[in-house]
């Protein structure tokens, strides 16, 4: 979660080992009474040890479905169809048996949810949330699990962990609850943490604390993080790379610095304009993007952003633009791709 050259080196070194996460042409189709929703539509990327990928897009763009499909929580069944491949620590998630999946969930991967109010069972004590998986999956006895649970709470910065174990979720503040959710996800020291809007339900100062906590935990535990947010501002300075999602597809992906410096996709540009600024007076409405995301049962034929795009041309609605590498002065920019016929900030094209 830093952009120093040391981190860059470390990252390129990490890239040579097996990536923690490989996503290859992943598609998730949800069957609804109104028709099939292509919620995730051909997404590919890899994530190395200790790396953070920010996944950003408006509400409804398919970020949660992507995260849950990667976890294997969403899989082919009566209500959806999943194609493509997900490898977590080398394991093909969608080819695992039910018990192998449980092992994966209890081990290699953890998930943090958007709303800490609903991610904790209201009738279970905080301690039980933590100890049940330690006992069932790690085979610890009660005192061992309790001691470890207290350790985990201390790790995520909860004061008086022993006392908290005996409290119910509703007795904790939102920020504390989200720390508990993070502790739950960390219980088995996962190689990959999927954080789905971990701060969206929290107020601003608490948001920063939670993001700092995730950064510290990543340094200490070396895990890869997929940080999902609808707000580019949240992943700024936190993600090594960013993937911008629109209507089920990645429309632009780049190293964070390059993306914030010179976004090529008009949607990325619009998202950047919509980042809340600290010096803005409160309650001023942001430069929100005009229009709404498309109906995902019958998305537009060509570029899905065309109906809302200020740069749209007639050719935009003919065929969908593919996600191609960005070029600068005739040379491919490593790691930077976008899907647009008329990119912005692309003088060298």
């Amino acid at each position: 979660m830093s952009s120093s050259s040391a981190a860059l080196q470390e990252r390129s070194g990490a890239a040579r080992e097996t990536p923690v996460l490989v996503v290859d042409d992943l598609r998730t189709q949800i069957h609804t009474p109104h028709g099939d929703v292509q919620a995730v539509d051909g997404i590919s990327f890899t994530l190395g040890r200790g790396e953070t990928l920010g996944v950003v897009g408006e509400s409804g763009s398919g970020k949660s479905v992507l995260g849950r499909t990667i976890m294997g929580l969403y899989t082919t069944g009566p209500t959806m169809t999943v194609t493509g491949r997900v490898l977590i620590a080398g394991k093909d998630v969608h080819a695992l048996s039910a018990s192998e999946l449980r092992e994966l969930w209890g081990g290699d991967v953890g998930m943090v949810f958007q709303d800490p109010m609903t991610a904790l069972n209201p009738v279970k004590k905080v301690g039980v949330h933590l100890t049940e998986s330690l006992r069932k999956r790690r085979g610890m006895n009660r005192p061992q699990a309790k001691a470890r649970a207290a350790e985990l709470l201390a790790l995520v910065g909860i004061p008086e962990p022993r006392r908290r174990l005996d409290q119910y979720p509703h007795e904790l503040s939102g920020g504390m609850r989200q720390r508990v959710v993070i502790a739950m996800a960390l219980a088995n020291e996962p190689a990959l943490l999927i954080a789905d809007e971990p701060t969206t339900a929290l107020d601003v100062t608490v948001q920063r604390q939670i993001l700092d906590l995730l950064a510290r935990l990543q340094d200490e535990l070396g895990m890869a993080i997929m940080l999902i947010s609808h707000n580019l501002g949240v992943v700024a300075g936190r993600a090594d790379r960013v993937a911008v999602m629109y209507a089920g597809r990645v429309v632009e992906t780049a190293d964070a610095a390059a993306l914030f410096d010179a976004p090529h996709h008009p949607y990325t540009e619009a998202l950047l304009e919509a980042i809340p600024r600290l010096h803005q007076p409160p309650h001023v409405r942001l430069a929100a993007i005009d229009g709404a995301p498309p109906n995902m049962v019958a998305p537009p034929v060509g570029c899905r952003f065309a109906p809302r795009c200020r740069y749209a041309q007639p050719d935009c609605t003919e065929a969908p633009p593919s996600l191609d590498p960005a070029m600068a002065n005739g040379v491919v920019t490593p790691g930077h791709s976008f899907a647009c016929y008329h990119p912005v900030n692309a003088g060298g094209q």
Binding site: L73, E103, G107, D115, A119, V123, S133, Y168, H170
Partner: protein, 317 residues
């Protein structure tokens, strides 16, 4: 908690007062003249008048009600009007255990059947198992319990001979024999309740299973069984518990059909018999006891919400 309890008890006392008054009034409207019931037809008017005077029936209604209530509060429900004259309370004390046992056994069986059925149904909602179970529940609900009872008797008692057809063995005589005799009647009671509980619990489970905390439990690697029993059941059980309370209270006074089918000496038989013979003190006493039990059952159910949901527990402090 203490204050809530006190408030609830106050409310319940008020409810009981109203119910007892209602019962008292209702019974005074019975067509039979108690004096005729006691003496038989064809006596002198003066003789009837003397009996009425003795029973206090000539006092104004409010006075009679207060008299009756005053004794009832001290546990004296009077004597039966129709011979053999006994304490109403003794008759109730003999019939009540039968009804309570039937109701409790029936509810226990219903829970035992419906919880796994509802879980199985909700786990793959809309799947084949779910459809079969839903159709089954619907079928059971559409069969009158009288018919279901007869069928069960025909199969398990008459054809297979696994269980006795009638008779009752008191719990105090032999626990094994008692359960053996209580099994079929309890099963008849459990049948319809199982169907109801399964449907209600299934629906609430399906709602709960969409919650994030279920996904979070899955994402921790917990097994489906663990998630069902440890995460989903408790938050889904409120409607069912409410229904359970209503059923339990209701059944204690009205397992009439089952008592009739199996010739069991419970509260239903007692009240019906007394009403038929015009034994008004018996009816008044029995109905009052049933009302008290109903109200107490519901109090218990209310208190159980606090046990089930810690948020309610705190909210009431």
């Amino acid at each position: 908690m203490g204050r809530t309890l006190l408030k609830r008890v106050g409310e319940l006392a008020a409810v009981l007062l109203i119910v007892s008054f209602g019962t008292f009034m209702l019974v005074s409207l019975l067509p039979n003249d108690p004096a005729v019931v006691i003496l038989g037809e064809g006596r002198e008017p003066a003789e009837y008048e003397a009996v009425r005077e003795e029973l206090g029936l000539n006092d104004p209604l409010p006075v009679r009600y207060l008299d009756w209530l005053g004794s009832a509060v001290t546990g004296d429900l009077g004597e039966t009007v129709v011979p053999p004259v006994t304490d109403v309370l003794d008759r109730v004390a003999a019939a009540l255990p039968v009804s309570v046992e039937l109701a409790v056994l029936g509810m226990g069986m219903a829970l035992l059947f419906s919880i796994p059925l509802a879980m199985w149904s909700a786990y793959r909602a809309g799947g084949r198992v779910d459809r079969v179970i839903s159709a089954g529940a619907f079928g059971v609900l559409s069969v009158p319990s009288f018919l279901a009872g007869l069928l069960i008797i025909m199969v398990f008692a008459n054809q297979l001979g696994w269980f006795p057809r009638a008779q009752w063995v008191r719990l105090s005589e032999s626990i094994g024999d008692n359960l053996y005799h209580a099994f079929l009647p309890a099963l008849v009671i459990a049948l319809a309740e199982t169907a109801l509980f399964t449907r209600i619990l299934r629906n609430d489970l399906i709602t709960t299973l969409q919650e994030d905390f279920i996904l979070a439990a899955k994402a921790k690697g917990m097994s489906a069984r663990h998630i069902m029993f440890s995460d989903a059941l408790r938050p889904s059980s409120f409607s069912m518990i409410t229904l359970l309370g209503i059923s339990l209270g209701r059944l204690i006074g009205s397992t009439v059909i089952v008592e009739y089918l199996f010739a069991l000496p419970g509260m239903g038989s007692l009240v019906i018999g007394a009403a038929n013979t015009g034994d008004f003190t018996m009816v008044q006493g029995a109905v009052l006891v049933i009302a008290v039990i109903y109200v107490l059952t519901n109090l218990l159910i209310d208190l159980s919400y606090g046990v089930l949901d810690p948020r309610i527990r705190r909210a009431h402090v």
